[in-house]
Symmetry: C2
Subunit: 118 residues, 2 copies
């Protein structure tokens, strides 16, 4: 068993890159991920998994074809599987994500970022 809790803020201090997800733990076949984002991502969807976003710091807008949702710290949103979405952040924003192991962040393995463990 791990002998220490995962401090999310401490993990986020370990890197500066944007849109570069880092795996900080594992839960029921899912990766627990922290990521820093700023600017606009790409429209994409995940056919086989819901997409969970929890804002730790900053502000995230998740655009969807039917409308947008904006999240501040302590707010979460689950994009249902298959639904196209485009995350956008005007300021640098820190997120906790939960995704099945191996999920490509862009929805497409050819363009997906690697997800190293930290």
């Amino acid at each position: 068993m791990p002998t220490q809790a995962v401090n999310l803020a401490d993990k986020l201090k370990l890197f500066d890159e944007l849109w570069a997800p880092k795996v900080v733990g594992s839960f029921n076949g899912h990766d627990l991920i922290v990521v820093k984002v700023k600017g606009r991502f790409v429209w994409h969807s995940h056919p086989d998994t819901d997409d969970l976003f929890l804002v730790l710091k900053g502000r995230l807008t998740i655009e969807m074809r039917e409308g947008a949702v904006t999240l501040g710290p302590g707010e979460l949103y689950v994009v249902p599987r298959g639904l196209e979405h485009c995350p956008t952040a005007d300021e640098e924003t820190e997120l906790l994500l939960i995704e099945p192991e191996g999920t490509p962040n862009t929805g497409d393995p050819a363009t997906a970022a690697p997800k190293p463990k930290i």
Copy 2:
């Protein structure tokens, strides 16, 4: 699709009971749960699922037979499936939990608390 983010602090303002989990969302067949705890729970394990704890406020100790882990705000811990544990909090503590739908909080359906949606 849900048109609003889930504000965890706002959800936690809706109730006062301790050890009374409330479902605030759904993700890949799992319930997203908020709960207030204080004092000592019971030793239990979940044979079929890992157990994810994220502290939002306060301080939680998770006792396990091999040792204890203490978590403050912004810290998470995953108890591996099958491992006996006993959560304890000296002060009132607020948590986000993620559990497969229908998971009994005590590990035993006979003694488990109901999990209403709020």
